[in-house]
């Protein structure tokens, strides 16, 4: 976001907007999906204690709706029952302040399961957003299936504070990869492939320098 030097008041406002943006960006935004109220309460506390911003939904459908993925071609049924959007195509949610940095979802939910949600997300605009699956059941084949489908992590319930540290790890990783993509696109490199497991701490600092410069 560039600062236009067209007057003191203008600059002041732009400074304030930039500060607001940076404050929002300081806290990772987690989209949490669970049909159980009690689980949501626990998760809310765990995430807030860890300084994350959280948005809660109680179903996979609502998660897709939030992300703006519900009205896609292969979901005609949802389009006709959706009351909120009037347009036939909802573009993916890209508002600056509401950017989702991580999705954490329960596996076992009525309707769309966490696994189904995972598949939808990984096949969408949000495929690089880390998805974490939670389950009360320790079933190796289930865990394998989710990890194969691209889940970053599989957490066993009940969740504890120590599980939040695992989220931090995935959030920081994903931040690193998005910096790599920004770098690549700025270098007009058309092969924007996020390289997994590539550790390069310089990219984190490059993104901070860029923000300061704008």
């Amino acid at each position: 976001m560039e600062i236009m030097e067209s007057g003191a008041a203008d600059t002041q406002q732009k400074h304030e907007e930039k500060y607001q943006q940076q404050t929002e960006e300081k806290h990772f935004h987690v989209l949490a999906v669970d049909d159980s109220l009690i689980e949501r309460k626990l998760l809310e506390r765990l995430l807030k204690v860890s300084s994350y911003r959280v948005t809660f939904v109680d179903s996979g459908d609502k998660a897709l709706e939030y992300l703006g993925l519900l009205n896609s071609i292969d979901n005609v049924k949802a389009t006709s029952s959706s009351s909120s959007s009037s347009s036939s195509y909802q573009s993916p949610r890209q508002d600056q302040g509401m950017k989702v940095n991580l999705i954490i979802t329960d596996y076992c939910m009525p309707g769309m399961s966490g696994y189904d949600l995972l598949k939808r997300v990984k096949g969408s605009y949000f495929k690089d957003v880390p998805v974490v699956i939670m389950s009360s059941e320790n079933i190796p084949s289930r865990i394998g299936m989710c990890l194969d489908e691209g889940a970053e992590e599989f957490l066993l319930k009940p969740l504890q504070l120590s599980d939040m540290e695992k989220l931090q790890h995935h959030l920081l990783n994903s931040l690193e990869h998005s910096c790599e993509r920004i770098d690549k696109s700025l270098n007009t490199d058309s092969n924007c492939i996020a390289v997994r497991n590539k550790s390069n701490s310089n990219h984190g600092s490059v993104s901070r320098v860029r923000r300061q410069m704008t």
């Binding site: 626990l42 506390r45 807030k48 204690v49 319930k157 504890q160 504070l161």
Partner: protein, 152 residues
């Protein structure tokens, strides 16, 4: 011994009792760790929600088991919900009954289910009373000018 020390001793003994008898497990301690100045009523809130939910589920399961033809799938889904929430708050005894209850549902064993439901109900009442005692002690400590001690 001053009042605060007395109360602290009481609460420590009572907590130890709750853990020893398996009413609560480590997950309950984890919940208490999440309580702080910004959210002092967190444990009370979650526990209240749990008992509300418990009551609803018990009623639904009772109705389902009274039917001529029992929908065991439905009963099982209620048990699954209760199993999950009891585990999340550390209500160990209730959680254990739910494990047995699930097996009865899978076996389509109506009598077994009815017995399990009675046990669930009994455990819910016991835990509710016990936690009310615990919360009262905590309130007394705060009233006496102390802060709620961290549980073991």
């Amino acid at each position: 011994m001053d009042l605060l020390s007395q109360l602290r001793g009481q609460i420590a003994d009572f907590s130890a009792f709750l853990h020893r008898e398996g009413f609560v497990d480590d997950q309950f301690t984890q919940l208490q760790k999440l309580r702080d100045e910004s959210s002092p009523g967190f444990v009370v809130e979650v526990v209240s929600l749990f008992f509300e939910d418990c009551e609803k589920l018990v009623n639904n399961m009772a109705k389902a088991l009274e039917q001529q033809i029992v929908d065991f799938k439905q009963v099982d889904s209620h048990v699954h919900q209760l199993k999950g929430s009891s585990s999340s708050i550390g209500a160990a005894r209730i959680h254990n009954v739910c494990i047995a209850f699930k097996t009865c549902c899978e076996d389509q064993n109506r009598d077994g289910c009815v017995r399990c439901l009675q046990q669930v109900n009994h455990e819910c009442i016991q835990l509710k009373n016990n936690l009310q005692t615990l919360f009262k002690l905590e309130q007394q400590i705060v009233a006496a000018g102390g802060s709620i001690p961290a549980m073991q």
